[in-house]
């Protein structure tokens, strides 16, 4: 069972990575305006995949 002393710290690292990536996603506005991407094709100027949703909001 001693392998647990290695595996659990490893899983804690994984936990840290997932928390970090979740925070990154929230901070860059990935969860804001969830339907904006879907409406992109109605926009005359084309889809805004690098547009305001990420850049402006991250400021």
């Amino acid at each position: 069972m001693n392998i647990l002393f290695v595996l659990i710290p490893l899983s804690l690292v994984l936990l840290g990575v997932s928390v970090w990536s979740l925070f990154w996603a929230i901070d860059t506005g990935q969860f804001e305006n969830l339907d904006e991407a879907a409406r992109g094709y109605e926009n005359e100027e084309g889809p805004t995949n690098d547009g305001p949703s990420i850049k402006d909001r991250a400021k």
């Binding site: 069972m1 647990l4 002393f5 659990i8 899983s11 804690l12 936990l15 997932s18 928390v19 979740l22 925070f23 929230i26 901070d27 506005g29 969860f31 804001e32 909001r57």
Partner: protein, 748 residues
């Protein structure tokens, strides 16, 4: 006003009237009745503050103060000092603040959720393994790992509860954060203690789960609140914080919206809001005036046309010239009234708040009693039972029950063009059983006329007279021409048409090949000269010297004498009948009270199938009528235009003014109809009744929930994690039940 201007970033709207300034702003962190009381108490201590009103559901604070004694900055600082961050109500700043609040909350939920899953995985082994089957070193190790994960969850995700509880305690009040923070603290400290000690229960999984479920519940509440908080949702649109003003050299500059004065040229982007009543400077524009008219439809406007403040430019970027200062615009008046309503709290909510306030104290005492009882009976279960009691009780559901329903109902009505300007107006509207309607301008459309009577002065019959009138008016652009258009018969040929400006039309009429009627001997083939228009104009041709028999009317005559008089009168609004029907269906008796002539009122009465109508009523007479009705124990809703019917509106139980432009600002009515949709008022009665129903459901639910959950928790029948779900769910049920009101499609 200087304070308001310098701090315009915070206070969205502010009126200085008779030595009073008013500001409405949002405050972050208002969750419960006790929060609103602490703000009221803190501001009560500031000299010069005349009135404070806090609305829990919308997180709005409405303050009135004497500008000579204190400044808005002092007020905002006081609110911040009490632990609530003042936020602007609209514009980019508000959106940024909202987004920041949402993101932080999401991160807290995310960390708590991930932590919860991991902790549960690790401690699960300790739970299921028989004591002799698991190596004590491994068991202890797993508990330490649980502690390592729980600590950051508690510190980061649990922070709002501790901060809230700390503010409550410092203000010597008991908010709903106090029992939660107490439970979290107790559970965590006991778990750490037992982990280090190496024996006894640990509750790391419960702690993370509490935090996760409670944060998730708060998040949903916050999103709902933010949505109703932004003025944009309530009135359909929001004023932008800044607009692009076109300078003399053609370049644009960003200026605060307050700085816009009449005559400024503004550049409005596609999809942008036209902030003030303005004139279109561009060639053409497509605007959506749904804020003011309630109808969401793009309308075409040409250069020079008037644009209403609050409409959206949906076609493209346009330039407009402001006709008024922002403060004098329709939108400003609307926003100010709405702010007033949302900043105040209805009576029924105050009652619930009082109950909720005693609630937390009772919870803490109960938890103590539970611990004491279990210590006697079975000490090992004292701790989990007390935790469950602390977490499961929810005064929040009770104090949210009313305000969320009122906010939802007002929002729904505002979208359809009916503004609720006083917080308890809907509550009173639900009890209405009689509606007193003014006729002119209310049941009838102001400025719209129709032919209500004809007097035949010659030998023609009515059909002939109408046909000739229609032929004469065929190419006229005068508004009256439209009244005759449907009687036109193309066979009647018209020559030598002459439009005498402002007086009438003259023409020769030659009959068509197949005359549909016989004009007799006078219809000579060369054509008779006819005139239609004002009395003096027509009688000049007809050589008729008799005095005009009526005042408002159009005369038709030929060289042979006067032929007909068309009497004009107001026409009923198309939706008046539907509105009356709606009132009747709801059991509200409609009564017409008008200052107009008996026949006109009678005509309206018959057309609308109304049983009671009073004509020739002076304002004092209307007042008397309403007084009589109220003496009979009736609850009266009065609908009228805000100006003439002022006294009657003021005397009624609920008043509804139909207003246009800046006149609405003066209207002291409870409800304000911004468009012609009279039937929305009937809808409002139905909505207010449903609202009361929802409020009763909410109050009942929160009482039943608490009465049922507390004993179960006290007897240790509710595991702590279920208590956390129960508490969050009880508030969510209340909030979502109220959202139902806003989502419901009203019967058209």
């Amino acid at each position: 006003m200087t304070a308001a201007t310098t701090s315009s970033a915070h206070a969205f709207w502010s009126n200085a009237a008779a030595g009073r300034a008013r500001a409405v702003f949002a405050a972050e962190g208002i969750r419960c009745a006790s929060c609103s009381r602490s703000i009221e108490r803190a501001l009560g201590g500031v000299s010069g503050v005349a009135r404070v009103n806090v609305n829990v559901a919308t997180s709005r604070v409405c303050v009135e103060w004497d500008p000579s004694k204190t400044q808005l900055d002092t007020i905002l600082r006081t609110v911040a000092g009490a632990g609530f961050k003042p936020l602007p109500l609209a514009g980019e700043a508000a959106e940024t603040a909202f987004a920041r609040e949402r993101r932080t909350a999401l991160k807290r939920i995310g960390l708590a959720g991930l932590g919860m899953m991991q902790v549960m995985m690790y401690v699960f082994g300790v739970y299921v393994a028989r004591p002799e089957a698991i190596d004590p070193a491994i068991a202890s190790y797993l508990k330490y790992v649980g502690m390592a994960i729980t600590t950051p969850v508690l510190v980061y995700s649990g922070a709002p509860f501790f901060v809230g509880a700390w503010h409550d305690l410092r203000r010597r009040t008991l908010g709903m954060d106090v029992p939660v923070a107490l439970a979290l603290c107790l559970a965590f400290v006991a778990s750490v203690f037992n982990t280090v000690r190496g024996e006894g229960q640990t509750y790391f999984d419960s702690v993370t789960m509490f935090i996760f479920f409670l944060s998730a519940g708060r998040y949903v509440e916050m999103v709902v609140r933010q949505r109703s908080l932004s003025v944009s949702d309530a009135v359909g649109r929001s004023l932008p914080a800044q607009v692009a003003r076109v300078k003399a050299d053609g370049t644009t500059e960003r200026v605060p919206i307050r700085a816009v004065v009449a005559g400024d040229t503004l550049q409005i982007p596609k999809g942008g809001v036209i902030p003030v009543d303005a004139t279109l400077g561009s060639e053409v524009a497509l605007v959506d005036e749904s804020l003011v008219t309630g109808e969401s439809r793009a309308e075409r406007r040409a250069a020079g046309d008037a644009l209403l403040g609050g409409s959206l430019s949906v076609g493209g970027a346009i330039r407009v010239v402001a006709r008024r200062d922002v403060a004098g615009s329709t939108l400003a008046s609307v926003v100010a009234l709405l702010e007033r309503a949302q900043g105040s709290r209805p009576q029924i909510a105050r009652a619930a708040d009082r109950v909720a306030n005693g609630f937390v104290a009772a919870t803490l005492l109960l938890a103590l009693a539970v611990v004491a009882a279990w210590l006697v009976y079975d000490p090992s279960r004292a701790f989990p039972a007390a935790l469950a009691v602390l977490v499961v009780t929810c005064p929040c559901a009770l104090s949210l029950a009313t305000p969320v329903a009122v906010a939802a109902a007002s929002t729904k009505l505002a979208r359809r063009g009916l503004l609720v300007t006083r917080a308890d107006a809907l509550e009173r509207l639900a009890g209405v059983d009689t509606v007193v309607l003014d006729k002119t301008g209310t049941l009838t459309a102001a400025g719209r006329l129709s032919i209500v009577g004809m007097t035949m002065l010659g030998s023609l019959d009515k059909k002939q007279a109408l046909a000739i009138a229609a032929a004469l008016e065929r190419s006229s652009s005068h508004p009256f021409a439209a009244l005759f258009a449907r009687h036109d018969q193309p066979e009647i040929a018209v020559v030598d048409l002459r439009d005498v400006d402002g007086r009438g039309v003259e023409a020769r009429i030659t009959l068509g090949i197949e005359p549909t009627f016989d004009l007799g001997a006078r219809a000579n083939v060369g054509g008779t000269r006819w005139r239609i228009g004002r009395h003096d104009f027509v009688s000049e041709l007809a050589a008729d010297t008799a005095a005009p028999p009526g005042d408002l009317g159009i005369y038709l005559g030929s060289e042979n004498g006067l032929e007909a008089l068309f009497e004009l009168g107001e026409i009923l609004r198309p939706e008046a009948f539907a509105a009356i029907e709606r009132f009747r269906a709801l059991g509200v008796e409609p009564i017409i009270a008008s200052g107009d002539r008996g026949e006109a009122v009678d005509a309206a009465r018959l057309a609308l199938h109304v049983e009671r109508a009073s004509a020739r009523l002076e304002p004092a007479g209307k007042l008397e009528l309403i007084g009589e009705l109220q003496a009979q124990g009736r609850h009266v809703l009065a609908i009228g235009d805000g100006v003439n019917d002022g006294p009657a509106l003021a005397a009624s139980n609920v008043s509804c003014a139909m207003g246009e432009g800046s006149a609405i600002a003066q209207a002291a009515s409870d409800l304000l109809l911004l468009n012609d949709g009279l039937s929305v008022v009937g809808e409002a009665v139905a909505t207010s009744r449903r609202m009361m129903q929802v409020i009763r459901q909410n109050l009942r639910w929160s009482l039943v929930y608490n009465l049922a959950a507390v004993p179960l928790a006290a007897f240790d029948l509710v595991p702590p994690w279920l208590a956390a779900i129960g508490m969050s769910a009880s508030s969510l049920v209340v909030v979502l039940n109220a959202r139902r009101l806003a989502a419901e499609k009203g019967a058209e």
